[in-house]
């Protein structure tokens, strides 16, 4: 039975009243049935429908749909307080982590200057493992966590995990390369100063990768289409890579300037080239890892490490292989320059093509979705106080 209720004074146009109250719903609806569902959920019952002189809520919704012009709401605002705000601290931490092996290497040389080359090689191997672990860890800091709900960026599945491990191992190999290569030269193992510059530069790579992600996401929100997004993204990748190269160059110059014993002459153009090639390759690998392309990152890093190892073998083995004289004529840095440079040159166009796509800038899945708040009392809002009687 319906409780008796005094008739209400009705306004001039009850439909207009309803329209004003539910304007958002009516503007964003794609179908009259959506308006009808929204009206029912908002508590528009048969009485209110009858007051609007309609037979049922469907007819009322059709009138509202016809009277209100369509307008779709704006997308959600871009997440301003993303990892972009926290990039400096993470980059510094990454730089410190990457600097630790070189510091340990320098300490070994300072404490035991006459340590055997084998001990130093073992220390370099440990340093490479540390680098690889650090690269794997920093790649997990932002994005790339596999989430149960799509859309997950590609490369976050189990296959992506192993590819990321390969890429991290390649990063470790490339970073430890300038520490190991002087042994092949037969002379005095170089001091770990310039390798330390390269390693500390990985902090800058971390910063650049975060900046690149941030730029991609903001352009994704601002661009009016895929073509415009591509146009906007064209200068971003060179800028990020150049930033990293400049940072590594500055660090190397600084290290050379303050190095005790200042032997400037043995760090010539060849060494600069080798340092730059390694930095370029590392920057690309980090960017690809961050944007969900672990396959390309792993291929590039592994090609650099493998190519350098191959060239080293060519140079060291007493076989009449083509190009051996050229490699032997220069220092071991030529091996690094050739290996890393070739890999980076091959990786650069690939990265360029992959990273200007909008698909590379999907937001990382934000962990598991919140549990439905229907079961359990903890999700319930406490009722504290009712209104006072009037």
């Amino acid at each position: 039975m319906t409780a008796p209720r005094p008739p209400r004074p009705s306004g001039a146009d009850p439909v207009r009243e309803l329209m004003e109250r539910h304007r958002d719903l009516c503007e964003s609806a794609t179908d009259p049935l959506e308006i009808a569902a929204g009206l029912e959920a908002a508590g528009v019952g048969p009485d209110a429908v009858a007051r609007c002189r309609h037979a049922d809520v469907f007819a009322l919704a059709e009138e509202l749909y016809a009277r209100v012009p369509r307008r779709t709401a704006d997308s959600a605002a871009p997440d301003a307080a993303g990892p972009w705000r926290r990039r400096a601290g993470a980059s510094l931490l990454a730089a410190v982590l990457y600097a630790l092996p070189c510091a340990a290497f320098a300490a070994i040389r300072a404490v035991a200057p006459r340590s055997s080359p084998w001990a130093l090689l073992a220390a370099a191997a440990v340093a490479g493992a540390w680098y690889a672990a650090t690269a794997l860890e920093t790649a997990r800091w932002e994005g790339g966590r596999p989430g149960p709900s799509a859309p997950a960026p590609p490369g976050t599945g189990p296959a992506g995990t192993s590819l990321r491990a390969v890429a991290a191992a390649g990063v470790g190999a490339v970073l430890v390369m300038p520490l190991v290569l002087p042994f092949a030269g037969g002379g005095d193992p170089a001091s770990p100063a310039t390798p330390a510059a390269l390693a500390v530069g990985m902090g800058a790579a971390e910063w650049c990768a975060r900046w690149f992600r941030h730029a991609g996401r903001s352009h994704l929100a601002a661009a009016a289409g895929i073509a415009e997004f591509r146009r906007r993204m064209v200068p971003v990748l060179p800028a990020a890579v150049l930033l990293h190269l400049c940072a590594v160059a500055l660090l190397t110059a600084a290290v050379l300037a303050v190095r005790p014993g200042g032997r400037e002459e043995d760090f010539g153009a060849l060494q600069w080239g080798a340092q730059g090639a390694a930095a370029l390759l590392l920057s690309l690998v980090v960017l690809l890892l961050r944007c969900g392309r672990p396959g390309a990152a792993a291929a590039g890093a592994a090609a650099a490490a493998g190519g350098t190892g191959l060239l080293l073998a060519v140079r060291a083995l007493p076989l009449a292989l083509p190009g051996r004289d050229l490699l032997a004529a220069h220092g071991p840095a030529a091996v690094q320059l050739a290996g890393c440079g070739a890999a980076a040159a091959a990786l650069l166009p690939w990265a360029w093509a992959a990273l200007v796509r909008p698909g590379a800038h999907r937001a990382a899945p934000a962990g598991p979705p919140p549990a439905p708040a229907r079961s359990g009392p903890s999700a319930r809002t406490p009722l504290t106080e009712g209104p006072t009687p009037t």
């Binding site: 319906t2 409780a3 209720r5 964003s28 609806a29 794609t30 179908d31 049935l33 959506e34 569902a37 929204g38 029912e40 959920a41 508590g43 528009v44 019952g45 009485d47 209110a48 469907f58 307008r71 779709t72 704006d74 997308s75 959600a76 799509a150 859309p151 997950a152 590609p154 490369g155 599945g157 296959a159 992506g160 994704l220 929100a221 601002a222 661009a223 009016a224 289409g225 895929i226 415009e228 997004f229 396959g295 796509r357 909008p358 698909g359 800038h361 439905p372 708040a373 229907r374 009392p377 999700a379 319930r380 809002t381 009722l383 106080e385 009712g386 209104p387 006072t388 009687p389 009037t390």
Partner: protein, 552 residues
């Protein structure tokens, strides 16, 4: 028959007693022992790294179908071509990983953007930004994953089912449509998850053009599924009207009420001595209804000792093994009226208040009516037909009417008892498990016998009336088809529902007759009851008693 209950995994938030819920499935298996119920996994894995997008003519064909699909979503004049586009995509999506890999590539995104911009529908009102294109592309890829589900092409999957029953949302409807298309399996649809108020499939991309596109997709897909269904089952007459609006054929639409009154459902015991309003509300409603708060304040003007308890309209356990706790425990106690024993919560109030919720459904109303307490509900959704003359309906959003109804009921214990008993009887009749089982059995047999959903698919039953319904239910198959289809056919078991096993003798108490005994306690008006104040402390670790909370 082998009946595949299609529920996608993201329908886990559905109420348990609604079709597709855990309780409902258990009830169906108990009540219809002559059928075998399958629960296929509909979620195809996302594209792996090894899945390459197809090349050449297959790629062009898939992209053409995808373009037709997007155009059907973006252009209202073309919306009738959505089923054709879907079926074309399904036909061409044979190796399962190819379609997701193709939809992830940029060519598909560009196609989506171009077609979307050229549309004139509500989704194309505002030009989509690059982020909208990306979100819509991902969401469509996810929504189309049932096309690649292994269940559809596995010989032991969809081809071996005799009937699909869609109990989930859009993904389940898509799977049923494809099972019909590819293998000629007819389907019945429980449409409660296909209504426009439901969220769009997959991860909702938030507000914006992408959401509009996805809403168009779910609406058109629901229209197709409801139109193709052999039998559409609505949970109430209200839902039936909605489904007919959404494309269901009125001749094939029936009402199958949730079997809420399944198992022993004893009435709640005596009323609490203090006049108490039990306010059933959605647990995730952050801002409680201001109209209800205002009404409570008005009622408290007449009853200063009034207590208000808010609790979630969670359904009670289907077959409580313990006797009614409200009959043995002192119901006048604090919020822990049930004392940690599972049982109905409605006994804690003199009057049960059911204001309009976001998603009005018949389940909470039926639960409340089954308790034998009088129910005051707002006239929204199925409340009018469920409550009928056995409760009090108030217009929604009208605190004065709500307060008047509550005050009148609190003043009149006889009317309370009368209406409560009538409501219980009505609920027992409307939501009886036996009636529901009969309806469901008839729906399945009719679907199998009379309405082959896809007559062009070339199954033995392609012609109506070619095979009697008993052909399927008796488990007799042509040679080599699949012996032993009917697992319990021929065992001579009666087709009636199986009774609950653990049914305590004390639960078979006689129903309360129309009389004063359920409420003949202290008069709530004259008895001041306990002093107002916070109730006994709720132990923090115990989840059950804290379902109740004192308002003041």
């Amino acid at each position: 028959m082998r009946i595949a209950l299609l529920t996608a995994s993201d329908d886990a938030t559905a109420p348990r007693s609604a079709p597709g819920g855990a309780d409902w499935c258990a009830w169906a298996e108990r009540s219809l022992p002559e059928h075998a119920f399958l629960h296929p996994v509909l979620d195809a894995a996302p594209a792996g790294r090894r899945d390459r997008a197809p090349r050449g003519r297959r790629r062009a064909r898939l992209l053409r179908s995808y373009e037709a699909l997007v155009r059907a979503l973006a252009e209202p004049r073309e919306s009738a071509s959505l089923p054709a586009a879907l079926y074309a995509l399904a036909d061409a999506a044979e190796p399962p990983g190819h379609l997701p890999a193709l939809l992830r590539c940029e060519e598909a995104a560009r196609l989506l953007e171009r077609t979307w911009r050229s549309g004139s529908g509500p989704a194309s009102v505002r030009a989509p930004a690059a982020r909208d294109v990306l979100a819509a592309s991902d969401a469509l890829e996810r929504a189309l994953r049932p096309l690649a589900a292994g269940w559809l092409r596995d010989p032991a999957g969809a081809p071996s089912a005799d009937l699909c029953h869609v109990t989930g949302g859009t993904p389940a409807a898509l799977a049923a449509l494809l099972a019909g298309r590819l293998h000629g399996v007819p389907c019945t649809v429980s449409g409660h998850r296909l209504l426009p108020g439901e969220p769009p499939p997959g991860s909702a991309p938030g507000p914006g053009p992408a959401r509009a596109l996805l809403l168009s997709f779910s609406r058109l897909l629901a229209r197709e599924a409801l139109g193709r269904a052999a039998v559409v089952l609505a949970g109430s007459d209200h839902e039936r009207r909605w489904l007919e609006r959404c494309g269901a054929d009125p001749a094939r639409t029936r009402v199958l009420r949730d079997p809420v009154a399944d198992g022993p459902r004893p009435a709640a015991g005596p009323e609490p001595p203090v006049p108490t309003l039990l306010w059933l509300r959605e647990p995730d409603a952050v801002a409680a209804d201001p109209a209800v708060r205002e009404a409570v304040a008005l009622v408290r003007g007449s009853f200063p000792a009034l207590r208000v308890r808010a609790c979630a309209p969670a359904p009670a356990a289907p077959a409580p093994a313990a006797p009614d706790p409200a009959a043995s425990a002192p119901a006048a106690g604090g919020p822990a009226g049930a004392g940690g024993v599972p049982g109905p919560v409605h006994g804690a109030g003199s009057v049960v208040l059911l204001p309009a919720s976001d998603r009005p459904s018949a389940g909470p109303l039926a639960e409340a009516m089954l308790s034998g307490r009088v129910v005051v509900a707002e006239d929204v959704g199925p409340a009018r037909e469920v409550l009928g003359p056995a409760g009090v309906l108030v217009p929604p959003g009208d605190p004065q009417a709500l307060a008047d109804a509550c005050t009148a009921l609190l003043r009149d214990p006889r009317r309370r008892a009368r209406l409560g008993t009538a409501g219980r009887r009505r609920a027992l009749e409307l939501f009886s498990a036996e009636t529901a089982a009969g309806t469901l059995r008839r729906a399945y047999l009719d679907a199998a016998a009379r309405w082959p959903a896809f007559p062009e698919a070339g199954r033995p039953s392609a012609e109506p009336f070619a095979l009697p319904a008993e052909y399927r239910s008796a488990g007799q198959r042509p040679a080599g088809h699949r012996p032993g289809a009917g697992p319990v056919a021929g065992t001579g078991r009666p087709p009636g529902p199986v009774r609950g096993t653990a049914r305590p003798a004390s639960a078979r108490e006689p129903e309360p007759v129309d009389g004063p005994d359920p409420v003949d306690g202290p008069d709530p008006v004259r008895d001041p009851g306990p002093v107002r104040g916070p109730g006994p402390a709720v132990p923090p670790g115990d989840t059950r008693p804290s379902r109740h909370r004192e308002v003041a």
